[in-house]
Symmetry: D2
Subunit: 346 residues, 4 copies
């Protein structure tokens, strides 16, 4: 049983079919193809506003490109202390934009506290030649803790940032899961609440390999395309990334896939809540369940062949569900945990 | 009819099948999967030496990563004046390794003349603090003109470079086509003749999206992996790149695909040589045919719906064949050209 | 009265004289001159070991060059949360070595706690492709709080770092003041306790414009010189930086100048300790005195024309003395503070 | 006798006096001082337009900062094939702006031919995602060959560039010498003919260590200041650079110093023209004389202790005069050459 990450999952049939179809065609390279030409329109319809889409192969590339657009080399980007962009991307943003600085902000469950942002901005060394200058806010939706910002929280953060001329970036590696949870439109979840640029996740949610930078509005993005080129992300057969992103948008597939993952996580949380020895570390709002198993129970579970991520040193386990996690597998995991709990102690 | 580039082609069935199979599996992310774990071994067998493989999505990424390994920031990399790395990658090498300089060398058909390399090295400002220092030689096999270095030429260049402590990089975007032409082993075509690091092309030759940096021997490559990570190339589902590269290696598929492309090019060259009004710009040795059509004939051909690359301002046309270019299509192209030639002049 | 910073001071007569003498000579450029040729020898004698000296014009350049030598692009450098390199250099280290990450460690008075370093290293994501890898420790001597690491503290930190293969960098913007306080040899204060590379401050301590990177031992430094060149620091008349650094080393001038600054600070601390309303924030061990004046007293003092640095939001004032701060000026400052204290309240 | 370069010269008395005066004062750091505050005004008067001045310590820093302002990372900067920025700065521009590309243009005596620029722009791959995009023209006045662009030539180049939306940069390492030769105003020599940003040389022409980026008009330059900071060029005692640049501007000192150097060069050229065995390589228009001595005569001269630069492999010697080259020294050089010529052959 693999609950390590949604990026351990396979590929959704609709996505695979799009790739197989495209594989049988010939078309121009480096983004001058039919699929890439349709991307902006397809996602503009989803977001109910003109958007510009740059397809890439990793969330790290998407985040770094986005931040390089929003911050100059001497800029400072604020993000949560647990943000993927800060702790899991080997400082790629500082490679894409040499000199860029990242600053952690606190907050429960991976959500940035508006007050913490305000304090950071109030005490920032504005205008000092010796100090990086506040340039952007980056927030993750859903968060690295599987929590979902509600729309007011989002808007408060974005307004606080914009009031000080900061741009707002959303790391939407799991945006689809958040939208499903919020039960709102993609527009409401993003630009209507003040997001300027989005890293749209797709790989974790059923694609084979595809992420995208989505720029809301008509801000010039040619610099972004050239940065993507210089970082080696304008692949010759870019159309195979675009084909995935088109299928992903079509008929709401991306939200349908996410809703399956969310349902599996809710089911798992429900199961676990009935096991007295296991406490949930936070309310699962998307497709991740954090359970305080403790080191010993964690070990037992791992010995039974269950793959999951050890979130911290005290035995918090992260279980991630995906579009292909079915009820039976969730049931198996719960049963295995119950069995481990019942196992005679060491 | 599309003869614009081999990167306009579709995907070989064996590669597609490998992706479909892998899509039905789950596995760990960021290269900790079974497929990626097998890469080094699979290609070590192909090359008859220990190699280390870093899979990426573009030739630009492969070349830039390779050069960042072989040259310090103050290094100078010598390459042909028509080298892809110099003219078609928007100076990505200078982005991956800020400060790196590229220097063009002359030579017919995209092949660097050994004497030109020697002169450049003899007159280099060795040791001057004011000048970039010679660090590496980068050569393209097959060249951008569809020519193939013979093995002695290759060895002479490599020895000339290594005698002055330069590393040798091969841009092997079309290495398979060159090996087929040379009818030698992959080992003979590369490290046995002095190549240190190879950019192995696969996308143009039947893969969906996959290239690789191949480092010969046991030079430490962890820096290269981290550079790949910082440039956003360590995708979470990296296994889908690896799966392609494994299928590509298996049972000599890569060479079989290239031999089809080469045969189609030879056939096209043979057809064109029988058309009096069309001269070949150089002998086609791999999968590209350069024909001097002149501007008018070029225009007519384009109006007939033939896609090809206008190589220069005087009407030289580049026709590229791929693994899926069949005899019928080559025949159609030749017939269309003949028909255009016969068309009453403007 | 200017107690804002020692970099507000003038130039020591011996340094100025060296410049005037050199100004009357002609010599070769870009470091090929007599003065620069003597630098290594002069400072090797001071440090009782072979050293290599790269002269630059700012501490930011010295620190960034040093760190670019000690950390790869994917490296992480640990430093104090108040370190100049982290908070006052606009992330220059991330510009000199794109991708490099800085991590703050806690500790009183600007001194890194060995336990904090150990915990950071124990919990570092060693070997994870997704995370910057620990590469170096950077500590400031004397610290940004005017405190001085004792030699055992220094050695413990350095050993902790080196045990995990980290290099150790010292930001010695005020190293001379620390050595005077410690009453030890320069060798004891640095490489004998595990320092690999030093940023040697000189501008704050009597030079016109001169700092240096000092590399202990015979580690190859040509990459460092070229990085300096690429960053525009190999000035054509580099000899005027070297001339300052030679005069600074000669006959212990650097320590003599620092001892004057330290004496002035001690005198000031002694004076302030007699004013009941003013508490010292920490023991002054070098040439800085931190006094808790509170906002109101700070304002009064500033209105009397005293220049000083407002260290925090609650009215801690930083008074810095330099080689040219004489007893009379210290007396004047103390008298002015007493007068402000006595002033009828608002 | 030292005719190697004007950067081998000493310091003009007026500049030295300015430094000595400033050394006796205290003032704020990092450019918040009186001298730096006066820079913009002083040079605005010289250039008869609002300018913004960023003082640095090397021409390499000035050129690289200027180009980083005028070209994005994917930009291409055109310059002469012999331009200092291309051949003598170790690709510092590519370090300051990672990814930036430099392209050589031909032309006699270091002057770019307008037709060569036109052809380069006509054939540039405008809009191709795979290619660096033309961004700026950089020209050197006086050129590396000691030649001076006349104003019409300058204007033609600048207009050609601006018509294609390129910015125009002037490397004015020896601008003063060019202005003296042209006998025009500084305004005429620069922005009135289309120059956007100037690297103003001062070190070679009597300063101790000082160059400047001068931006004409009110283009925002805060990015430039932060780039300077991140590259370590905002020195704490920046006022000592500014003090030099103020003295340099005052009462036309910079032009007076340059006129002395030009006169010495003219005198030398006149002397050499009378020696039958020595041909001038080009007409000396500024402060450099290029003489075709041949290898043997070059050797003899060097053995007599004359320092000069061997410009090429066939014995062209470069003699550079400076503000402190007096008539007697020129006479000595001429006499020594005559004596070498008369020496019995080997």
């Amino acid at each position: 049983m693999n609950f390590r990450s949604d990026n351990n999952a396979g590929v959704a049939p609709e996505i695979l079919q799009a790739l197989v179809s495209e594989a049988g065609r010939q078309d121009d390279s480096y983004g001058r193809d039919r699929q890439t030409a349709s991307l902006n329109q397809a996602w503009s319809e989803v977001f109910e506003i003109q958007v510009q889409v740059i397809p890439v192969v990793s969330g790290t590339a998407a985040n770094s490109l986005a931040l390089s657009l929003l911050s100059p080399p001497h800029g400072r980007v604020f993000c949560h202390a647990d943000a993927h962009v800060l702790v899991d991307e080997a400082n790629a943003p500082g490679f894409f934009q040499p000199g860029l600085a990242l600053s952690p902000l606190p907050g429960k469950d991976g959500k940035i506290e508006p007050d913490a942002l305000r304090r950071a901005l109030d005490s920032a060394p504005w205008g000092s030649i010796n100090c990086s200058q506040p340039a952007a806010l980056s927030l993750t939706q859903a968060t690295e803790w599987g929590a979902v910002y509600d729309l007011d929280h989002l808007e408060t953060l974005a307004r606080t940032a914009r009031d000080r001329d900061l741009f707002v970036h959303m790391d939407g590696a799991r945006l689809a899961n958040a939208i499903v949870r919020l039960n709102c439109t993609p527009a409401e979840a993003t630009w209507r609440r003040g997001i300027d640029v989005l890293s749209l996740g797709a790989t974790k949610n059923g694609c084979l390999l595809a992420e995208a930078v989505i720029v809301f509005g008509d801000r010039p993005v040619s610099h972004l395309w050239y940065k993507a080129k210089q970082a080696g992300h304008v692949a010759s057969k870019l159309r195979f990334l675009s084909a995935q992103l088109l299928a992903y948008a079509k008929d709401g597939l991306w939200l349908e896939l996410a809703s399956r993952a969310n349902r599996a996580a809710a089911m798992l949380a429900s199961e676990l809540s009935r096991i007295e020895e296991v406490a949930l570390a936070c309310e699962p709002q998307a497709n991740m369940v954090f359970a305080r198993l403790g080191p010993e129970l964690s070990d037992r579970l791992r010995r039974r062949g269950v793959a999951f991520h050890a979130w911290d040193a005290v035995g918090t386990a992260r279980f991630v569900t995906s579009f292909e996690t079915d009820a039976a597998t969730v049931g198996d995991l719960a049963a295995t945990i119950r069995s481990c709990v019942a196992e005679p102690g060491s």
